[in-house]
């Protein structure tokens, strides 16, 4: 049969058997599909040799959403995402449709920091500092421009372009939040701001536990950059050592988070690193948020001093 797909069922689900999908007016072959909490990430390649288009490139990534879960949450994510325009933020190229469902079309990058860790094992201090510095740049932009926090930073949400040095872009603003006191943040007015504010109460419970600051489990924390700074610190430790500071299989990570034992583990794991790098990581992942750098600018300053020392 010369058709792009076999049946409506194949159009919708299950995705594992899907070989081709329709993205707006083009047909794409499915390279891979990843299921996430809010939807699916599709890596696609043009089936036919269509003419060049700045949006519908030969290879693209597309995110689709699970509308059974929460339609407002999806609108929220798209509203935040489309407003962000920065070299360290993965751009949302277009809101289109994949198999007749709403979809976010984005450029296809070479992988995520997860893939980098898998391929290289670990990175040296300068490489880590450069990567974290790029990410902080994007976070500082989102915070200073829109008062938005990401709240789900982890290696798989930071995409990379294979280059030297590695260039990163922050993805997946699905659970990001506007800070409560800044509903009128510049550029996000009216409806967008109200959608972004939709659920302050649940912000503490969402995210990826191993990268979530301990206070976020308590339910009475206040949105501030220290939450994202904690995740940055965890990523820095993982990128530099190849592992997270948890004794998996021996102790329940939830217990290590609540007792602060992870912090002791991290102290041991990076004890032979340079003074500046060690201090940076440990300050960022300190169980007490008031001990962490309180602003992204402060993080940048610390990273700059590590880079400067590294260059000497």
């Amino acid at each position: 049969m010369p058709l792009a797909y076999q049946s409506t069922e194949e159009l919708m689900e299950p995705v594992s058997k899907l070989k081709q999908v329709l993205v707006d007016d083009r047909t794409y072959s499915v390279m891979s599909v990843r299921n996430g909490g809010m939807g699916r990430g599709w890596l696609l390649e043009q089936t036919f040799d269509d003419s060049f288009d700045p949006i519908y490139r030969r290879r693209i990534a597309v995110k689709t959403f699970d509308f059974m879960k929460d339609e407002r949450a999806i609108e929220h994510e798209l509203n935040i995402w489309i407003s962000l325009d920065h070299r360290s933020v993965l751009p949302l190229k277009k809101i289109g449709r994949l198999n007749y469902r709403l979809a976010a079309i984005m450029p296809l990058l070479d992988g995520s920091l997860d893939d980098v860790i898998e391929a290289k094992g670990s990175l040296n201090e300068q490489e880590v500092s450069k990567i974290i510095s790029d990410i902080v740049d994007g976070l500082e932009y989102a915070w200073s421009t829109f008062k938005i926090l990401h709240l789900d930073l982890k290696p798989s949400n930071v995409l990379v372009e294979n280059s030297s040095p590695i260039r990163t872009k922050i993805a997946d603003w699905g659970i990001s939040r506007l800070a409560a006191e800044n509903q009128q943040a510049r550029g996000l007015k009216g409806k967008a701001a109200s959608i972004a504010m939709y659920d302050q109460k649940t912000a503490y419970a969402e995210g990826t536990p191993l990268f979530m600051a301990p206070e976020r489990f308590s339910g009475n924390w206040v949105l501030s950059p220290t939450a994202d700074i904690y995740s940055l610190g965890m990523m820095a430790v993982q990128l530099n050592t190849g592992i997270l500071p948890f004794r998996f299989g021996q102790v329940d990570p939830a217990e290590e988070i609540s007792t602060g034992a992870f912090f002791e583990n991290a102290c041991q794991m990076i004890e032979n690193r340079s003074e500046g790098f060690r201090r940076f990581c440990l300050q960022c992942i300190h169980p007490n948020p008031s001990e962490r750098p309180s602003t992204f600018r402060e993080v940048v300053t610390q990273l700059n001093s590590i880079a400067t020392r590294g260059n000497k």
Partner: protein, 391 residues
């Protein structure tokens, strides 16, 4: 052999193809896409700002390069994409007719096509008396008789496409360029009853030959036929596949169906497919059941329905606010839609408050069934036209 190394040169089919490698065009498309995305999120004011910025970008480029034809084309593309056809049209006319620009055959053909498309998309009351009939070009499939939008692609209802130059010429003739919409609907109805297009339309075979004897027409037919052969299976979408039950393969009939009427399987269609099924049903009812009217409003309603069905099926493009509002206006202008023999009459003067009347004296055995079917689908259609298609 050396050509193989560099690949074959692709045929350009649209203004976008002509501008593809142009950096300013790529930035412009980025802006348009962003504005369209913002519109989808109901951030209309911000979308407007982005479009103004894009327009500035295109006009600045034009001011700096007034002799460059691509600078003019870029502005045409911008205005067409955002639906400002009145502003696109004079630029195309200047490009085509002023003699200021040297256009090759490919560029001339593409621009002429764009001009025709723009003129057709005008509401009926704004069209010139000698202008093209109907909101869009529509064709009656020479195989199944259903109405569709593109002769250069297989029929979305039966997957048939002309296999010879002669068949292509006949397919082009079976369109609203040569027949009134009411005549195409009559043809469709007769073909559904088992007659062939050649049988219903007298002299179709000889008209096809006569058409091909005009060199200008022959060139168009050959081009369409070549596009058909090239694109026959490329990005093709068929309504029957989209409307298929996942359990038994049966065609799900009602746009609002929660489960398959044959096997009981749940129908988990997204809103876009429900809207598609609704418009397809309405089109079928207009072709087969509704009393055909020769008013402009009725004809345009058929055309708009074909155009919106095509856009949704082939481009996954939901009806624009402009088309939605126009559809509702046409329903109001039509005043009523009647099932066969006027056995069931639906008052459409106020589309948001449709009323159905069963006329006892003119009712046929199936008037109630089809009248209610038409009423339900029209009701669903009005909701989608008023509120838009959801995620």
């Amino acid at each position: 052999m050396i050509f193989g190394l560099f690949g074959s040169k692709k045929k350009k089919e649209s203004i976008a193809d002509l501008l593809a490698e142009f950096l300013t065009y790529q930035q412009l498309v980025g802006h348009i896409s962003k504005a369209q995305s913002l519109q989808k999120l109901n951030r209309v004011d911000e979308a407007q700002q982005v479009l103004l910025e894009a327009e500035r970008m295109a006009t600045n480029y034009l001011n700096q390069n007034p002799r460059e034809k691509k600078a003019h084309m870029m502005l045409v593309l911008f205005y067409s994409e955002v639906g400002l056809f009145d502003q696109a049209e004079p630029i195309i006319q200047r490009l085509l007719n002023s003699g200021e620009f040297q256009l090759n055959d490919e560029e001339r053909l593409i621009l002429s096509g764009e001009l025709q498309k723009i003129r057709r998309q005008r509401p009926a009351n704004q069209r010139a008396a000698d202008g093209p009939r109907g909101f869009t070009q529509i064709y009656c499939c020479a195989n199944c008789g259903r109405l569709h939008n593109f002769v250069s692609m297989p029929c979305p209802h039966c997957d048939w496409s002309p296999q010879t130059i002669e068949e292509t010429a006949r397919s082009i003739i079976l369109s609203n360029s040569y027949f009134k919409i009411s005549a195409l609907l009559t043809l469709s109805r007769k073909m559904a009853n088992g007659r062939t297009a050649d049988d219903v339309v007298p002299n179709l075979l000889s008209d096809g030959k006569a058409y091909l004897s005009v060199p200008k027409h022959k060139q168009v037919v050959e081009q369409v036929f070549s596009m058909l052969r090239q694109n026959e299976h490329k990005n093709h979408r068929s309504l029957s596949m989209v409307r298929e039950c996942s359990g038994c393969g049966n065609r799900v009939l009602f746009s609002g169906a929660e489960e398959c009427e044959k096997c009981g399987e749940a129908v988990n269609w997204p809103d876009a497919i429900r809207t598609l099924a609704c418009m397809d049903n309405l089109l079928w009812l207009l072709e087969q059941r509704v009393e055909v009217s020769s008013t402009d409003a009725f004809s345009d309603f058929v055309c708009v329905l074909v155009a919106m069905t095509n856009n949704l099926l082939r481009k996954q493009k939901v009806p624009s606010i402009r088309d939605r509002q126009y559809s509702l206006q046409l329903l109001t202008d039509m005043g009523a839609v009647c099932d066969l023999n006027k056995g069931a009459v639906i008052d459409t003067k106020n589309p948001k408050n449709l009323k159905i009347y069963l006329i006892k004296d003119s009712m046929r055995e199936d008037s109630e069934t089809f009248g209610l079917f038409l009423f339900k689908e029209l009701e669903f259609f009005v909701v989608k036209m008023a509120d838009g298609v959801r995620h």
